[in-house]
C-alpha cells in the first residue's frame, strides 16, 4: 500500500465513478482498497470534487465500520463476535487473541504490525468460530489454529 497520498490518483478514483455523489459509499471503498484508510487530504478532496459538505461526508464516513480514518496494522485480524461463533467459543478465542497479540479488540499494536477487530458475522456459521485475516476467511479456528495463522504457517 502506498504511504503518501497522491491527489492525482484521488481524482482518478473519483472520476472512475463519474464523480457521482450517490456513489459515495462505493467511492470510499475504492479509496480504502487503494490506501487502506481514508487520508485527511482524500476526504477534503472527495468533498470538493463531489460537491458535498465536509459535515455530510463525515456523517457517512463515521457511520460505517469499514471506513477507517487511521492506518491499520500490516495484518488485520477480525474475530467474529456474533451468536453462532459465541456458541463455539469465540469469547475464549478473542481473549486468547488479545493476550497473545497483546492488545484489546479495536486496537493496533504499537509496532503497526497487527490490528485486532471484532466483526459481526462472516456467514461462516456452520464452521464456527470464524476469523478473517486480510480478507481471507478461516473456519473452525481454535486457539492453536489462530496461533498458526498469525505465525503465517497456514496462510
Amino acid at each position: 500500500m502506498p504511504k503518501t497520498y497522491d491527489p492525482a490518483i484521488g481524482t482518478e478514483i473519483i472520476n472512475s465513478y463519474g464523480a457521482r455523489p450517490e456513489l459515495l459509499v462505493q467511492i470510499l471503498h475504492a479509496f480504502i482498497d487503494r490506501y487502506s484508510y481514508l487520508h485527511e487530504a482524500a476526504l477534503r478532496q472527495i468533498a470538493d470534487e463531489l460537491n458535498i459538505s465536509r459535515a455530510d461526508l463525515h456523517g457517512v464516513v463515521s457511520f460505517y465500520h469499514d471506513f477507517r480514518t487511521a492506518p491499520p496494522g500490516r495484518t488485520v485480524v477480525k474475530i467474529c463476535q456474533a451468536e453462532a461463533c459465541q456458541s463455539m467459543g469465540s469469547r475464549e478465542l478473542t481473549a486468547h487473541a488479545e493476550k497473545t497479540i497483546g492488545i484489546p479488540l479495536n486496537n493496533t499494536t504499537s509496532d503497526g504490525e497487527v490490528t485486532l477487530e471484532p466483526v459481526y458475522c462472516l456467514g461462516n456459521c456452520a464452521c464456527s468460530p470464524a476469523v478473517m485475516i486480510d480478507n481471507n476467511v478461516y473456519g473452525r479456528v481454535d486457539s492453536k489454529r489462530l496461533d498458526q495463522l498469525l505465525a503465517g504457517r497456514e496462510h
Binding site: 459509499v25 451468536e83 456459521c125 456452520a126
Partner: protein, 524 residues
Amino acid sequence: MAGSITVFVPRETSAVSLGADKVAAEIVSSAAARNIEIDLKRNGSWGMTWLEPLVEVVVDGERIAYGKVAPENVASLFEAGFLTGGEHPLKVGNTADIPWLRNQDRWTFRRCGLIDPLSIEEYRANGGFAGFEKALQAGSAGVLAEVSTSGLRGRGGAGFPTGIKWKTVAEAVADQKYIACNADEGDSGTFSDRMLMEGDPFTLIEGMLIAAVAVGATRGYVYLRSEYPLTRVVFSKALAAARERGWLGTNIMGSGVDFDIDLHIGAGSYVCGEETAMLESLEGKAGLIRYKPPLPALQGLFGKPTVVNNVITLASVPEIIARGGDAYAALGTGRSKGTLAFQLAGNIRRGGLVEKAFGLTLRELIEDWGGGTFTGRDLRAVQVGGPLGSYFPAELLDTPLDYEAFSEKSGLIGHGGVVVFDDQVDMAQQARFAMEFCAVESCGKCTPCRIGSVRGVEVIDRIIANEDRATNMALLKELCDTMVDGSLCAMGGLTPFPVRSAVKYFPKDFAGDSVVQAQEGVSK
C-alpha cells in the same frame, strides 16, 4: 480410460475457509505429477458444510464424494484410486444418495453444488432461464398471477407476500422503477444468500430479470455486504458473463426488455439490511432508516417505485414461473408456502444448508439433519431468525417451522438461521449481547433503539453483578416494552425478543431463587 476425469472442489467461502483452495491445488499438482489428465471444476457448495471440503469425482456419470478432505489426504486419495471411485476412509459415496441431501426439497438450491456457477451453458442445460422465457410469454400480469398463486413471502425476514409487493410496484406510474436486491445478510447463523450467489448466481440474475418484466423496471441493484469478499468476486464474474452473453443489457435476447444490474458493496453496517436503510446506503448516504409510509414500493430508491427483495426471495421465482405457482404452493403448510433454505449453525454436529418445505419441526432439523450438538453435550438453547430472534429452550423443539407457529411463541423464522447452543451457554450473557449488538449497530435515528440499547447493557450488567436485582429486572421489563413499542424499525423493535426469551426460559442465569419469582412479568 479415454478423456479427462472431472473432479469437483467447491469454491465457496466455508469450503475455502476449511482449506478447499489448497486441496484443489494439491489435486492438480498430484495429477500432473502422475501424468493423469483431470478437469478440475470449482463448483458451489451442496450445503453440506460439515463435509467440507467435499471433493467429488465423476465415475461412469455418477458423482462420488469424499468428505472433509485436507491437503495432506490428497496423496493417499490418489493411492486409493479415488479418480475411479476407490475406497478410502474419507469416501462418502454417491453424492445423490447422501440422505442429508436426498431428503431435502431442493427448489431454490436445485443447481447449487451441481453446476459450474459461472457456466451459462451448464445453467441453461439444467433448466436455467426457462422461467425468464416463460415470463416473457406470460407478460407482467401472468408473472404477477403466478407469484401470487405461489404464496411466496419475503425470505429476508419479514415474510411479506411477494405478489402483493410486486403488484404495488407494477401499478405505480413512474418514468423509472428499480429492483433492489438485499444481499446484506447480516444475521448470525445465516449464509443462504452467500451460498446461492457463490453456487448458482445466474438464478438470482434470472429472478431479478423476471421481477423487472413483472413491474416494468429497467435497472437493478444488488447490495452485498463487504464481509463476503469471495461472493463479490463470483457474483461480479456472473454479471460480466451474463452481460457478455446478452442476458443483461438492452433488448435482452431479442425480447425488447432492457435491464442491467449494478453491484454495490455495503460497509460493515448491520442495520443496512433493513430495507430503507439499504436504500439510503445505495444512494451513497449513511444508512439511517426512513419513516414508512411512503412504502419503498411507491417511493423507494431515488424516490422511485422499487421492489426490495432478499436474494432467496428473488432466486425462488425462476422455478416458480417455470413450474407454475401451484407447484410451489403445494409445498409447505398453512400460510407458509413453499420451501425455506434453513441454515444449521453454531454448536451443531452437521451444520450447513437444508432446503425443506415449511412445516417440519425444529427438532427434526436439529436432530435428523444436524445430529445434535457439535460438542456432544446437551442442547440448552436455540436462536432461530438471527440476533433479533427469540431463544427457545429444548422444550420448544417440537415447534413446527412455519411463520405463524413461530410467531405464536414470540419466535421469528426470519431468514431461516438456526443457531444451537449447548449447556455451557450463559443466557444472561446472551441477553446482554443482544443489547450490546443493538448499541453497536443502531442507526441512531430513534431514541428507544439508540439509548435503550445502551441502557439495556447497563441494566443487565447490574443484574449480573447482583445489584438491586428485583428493581433492575423490573426496569429491564419496562425498557424492553419501550423499545418494542417505540422503535422505528425491527432493530430496536425486535432486540428485546432475545432478551425477554432469555429471561423467561432461563431465569436461573439471571438470578438467585428470590428473583426468579419476581420475573414472571418480564417476558410476555
